[in-house]
Amino acid sequence: MKKRDIGFLRQQATRVRVEILKMLTEAGSGHTGGSLSAADVVTALYFYKMRHRPDDPSWRERDRFILSKGHAAPLLYVVLAMTGYFDISVLKTLRKIGSPLQGHPCSKTLPGVEISTGSLGQGLSVSNGIAIGLKIDNLSSRVYCLLGDGETQEGQVWEAAMTAAHYRLDNLCAIIDLNGLQIDGPVSQVKAIEPVASKWSAFGWQVIDIDGHSIDEILNALDEAEKIKGKPSVILAHTVKGKGVSFFEGKVEYHGIAPTRDELEMALKELEGNGQ
């Protein structure tokens, strides 16, 4: 495990946001809000918590990350590039013809992507299957699955929640990016998912509630989840959609559109100012 250096991780999270915005602007389309909201959590996983080998993506003993909210592909691509899975220059090919960086993650075109996602509600089931397989093989690897909050409106999520509890998958940690917004508006207005904590708790999960932008809280939660035995854990990461760029924050319009060149310039100034 890497050194627990909160300052370093914060810097990396800012760099991740900068690269996300640059690649989205270059692509001209893509999901800005939900990539930025989960940036701190995913940075903490790839730069600190997860055991993985960028030069050997199929290393048998690696921890697995499943991006169930596949539309946050830009975030996954940036952390994969920054940790050395592929050259960072590839990021500018996002969503372009012939690119390994498909609009939503594709495991056939990009090593490091465990399974193709994009259609919501399916990643937790896959994570369960991996967690079961790892247990059969007596491997201590862990599985991390990132879901959106709107995504939990999908019924399959709850089928999978039951399965994970039934098979006591304590090598599985789900993380829900509770940014409060989905395409059509606030989650609470489109179709409320509250009370989130008691729902997961009732389904047999250990629930850990955190500020999803506090690196310190994220690290503590990931460490705590690893100690839970006999049941799966879920980290409820309370986040802000578009986090890091004031004029994207909390704006539902930026769920699925990319920044313009002017917006990118302003955003980079703001992020670079905060990063110093």
């Binding site: 996602t117 896959v126 079961i132």
Partner: protein, 335 residues
Amino acid sequence: MTHRGERVKDTGVGQQSIIGKAMATRDAYGEALLELGKKRNDIVVLDADLSGSTKTGKFAKAFPDRFYNIGIAEQDMIGTASGLSLTGKIPFASTFAVFETGRAWEQIRQMVCYSNLNVKLVASHGGITVGEDGASHQSTEDIALMRVLPNMTVIVPSDGYETMQVIKTIADVYGPVYVRLGRAKVPAVMPAEYEFKIGKAYPFHIGKDANIIAMGIMVSMAIEAAKILKDEDIDAGVINMPTVKPLDIEILLHAARSCRLVVTAEEHSIIGGLGSAVSEFLAENVPVQMRRIGIKDSFGCSGKPEELLKLYGLTADDIVKTVKEALKKWTYDTL
């Protein structure tokens, strides 16, 4: 008369020495899975609360540590099977065909096929011979739903002997496979020397007047029909096409060029299944007079399997009638 460079062995319909016994293909699956489990420890099995009916229960009893009942949650079952395959296991996921391919279709598309995973989908209760449970439980669209998916192989065995070979074979071949099995007992039709290969059909006989391309339970009907036709001096061939995708195009070319009429027979909708697959190929390559025997764009209903086969026109007599009428029309049209 060559097929894959070999001479087609044509012993005539009904002349082969048949191995095996009359049994439901799902029962053969239960036995094959058990054998496979004994030989390989990377085989894992999933079911959605129907292990007694799909016959995965036998495996579950023998290998409880490699059997996962996901409960009544087909979509979750497909996802879990996908995850297991990512750790190098070979998951066989089973439930009724209508739920496996219908309820979990998008999971099969997005997870299994798009990521090209080594997941084996083996469904029981295909077709209308499910019987008394009625249309909600009878799968008449599953082949269409699976055939349209890239990376998917689609197999419909005709009897118990063939089913056992199919199950053994697909465990050794990487990639998504859908196998459709039935609930009702079916006669043994495949000869002792038969060896199943993915994408290879078995011609019992190539006819000069007509050739009947059949899958699943309709193979035995086609054999019976060919015998009746022979008595009426009509030379009808029978080809068992267990792999609906990829089709055995060499045998199709050969059969279509040898006769005046190609008839497909399937316990499935005539839209999207074997009849469609064969028509699509022949229309572009050897346009020939064709007839499709199958469910004609309707739902099934409750009844005994044999009553339903009669009601929906899926008997040997229906095949005979179709062949005779089409040949008569062909002769009339060409005079």
